[in-house]
Point group: C2
Chain length 234, copies 2
């Protein structure tokens, strides 16, 4: 396990760590003067030394930094219906390991769980980044109202959205857009009739992943992986 | 969750259940006369009634049966190095959901865990089949000696083996064989020099999954999913 920390704010010479990172410092018994590696979520990996440990934050000096560019110009956005936490967590962790660019969560009529608090998802994302050494933090958007999600979709003019749907067409490489791709995954129980009508009115491409019925997180991950492959990421 | 059971032996009129299924009967408070659904791992889904409950097994009558044919002629074989149990378990569960045909586990020099007992893997496979309603039980092969795994590979004349390797080529669809495909996934620490030399002598195709370093189970699942797609399963 690479011990790398997440800094929420980096200046020229210093990096700041919040209470969650501070907790990890303590677990690892780190103290002032110890060398650490950390990321900022914007493509940089730093080396530095712990300078200050306060009750709810810490500060480190920056001794070295390496900046990496994003590997891919086009973005892949995962839009998921809120689901059971263990499924949602696994999906988000793996999607981050695979380099997803944005995570959009919405509450659907048949969602078995409400939208989580932003901080809970944010912390999951940070930890997954640290685990997989992903230097780029995906954007996170949470819509507790399905209609707000639709309104947001309507103004994403540079993104082609694709709906995972057991009644859709088989995936083929002609479906892959040149620009950004948004993959929409409904809850285990599927979308409601009203929701499907809204998607219909948006003229979304509907895609199925074979004839098996896959669980929520398996379907979503399979979609992320196949579209990543078709977008030339693998 | 579909409540479906696994019968280790099915005759014309009766199905037999071992102590693990018996335990599930008890958890669900099933009793003689209750109707159950069960699978035999050979493509059949049955309806029947519990007739006998003994101390270490149970028997049900068969009232209805539906037989399904395998969806795909060519087989996909997952050959994995033994790994940490939570990673191995997740991988096997998802591979079964995706319809893997055979699971081969071998102990590699850098494996952090020994090969599990057959019964442990078998039970995991059965439970994953029941969860995902996979009617076909994959074959399970366990090799505690790496050389035995290689000897087995050498006599699989109808299978093309592909090695996941960060130094391999990018996947492309010309790599996909007409017949059976075996995907080999090493331990988190990679294969040893000696092991790689053995694979070299076998002239295996080496394939990488993008430039990111993926965890054991993520790499393996990504491989299973992309090759399933390229073999026309999705």
């Amino acid at each position: 396990m690479p011990n790398v920390f997440y800094s929420y704010k980096v200046t020229d010479k210093e990096a700041f760590f919040d209470v969650h990172e501070l907790h990890h410092f303590k677990v690892l018994r780190l103290k002032i003067g110890d060398e650490i590696r950390f990321i900022d979520g914007n493509g940089s990996l730093f080396k530095g030394k712990i300078r200050k440990i306060l009750s709810n934050m810490a500060i480190a000096s920056i001794e070295e930094s390496h900046r990496r560019h994003k590997e891919w110009k086009d973005r892949i956005i995962l839009c998921l219906a809120s689901s059971k936490w263990h499924r949602e967590r696994l999906l988000i962790e793996k999607a981050i390991e695979l380099g997803i660019d944005e995570i959009v969560e919405f509450e659907s009529q048949y969602s078995v769980a409400h939208i989580r608090k932003f901080e809970k998802i944010d912390l999951l994302v940070r930890n997954a980044m640290k685990q997989s050494m992903n230097l780029f933090k995906p954007k996170i958007r949470l819509f507790s109202d399905f209609n707000d999600f639709i309104d947001w979709m309507r103004i994403q003019n540079d993104t082609k959205f694709i709906l995972l749907d057991p009644n859709g067409e088989r995936i083929n490489d002609t479906m892959i857009p040149k620009g950004d791709l948004g993959l929409i995954v409904g809850p285990e129980g599927g979308f409601s009739k009203q929701e499907l009508e809204i998607f219909n009115s948006l003229n979304l491409q509907r895609v199925k992943l074979g004839d098996r019925i896959l669980r929520f997180e398996t379907a979503a991950l399979t979609g992320v992986i196949i579209f990543s492959y078709l977008k030339g990421r693998m």
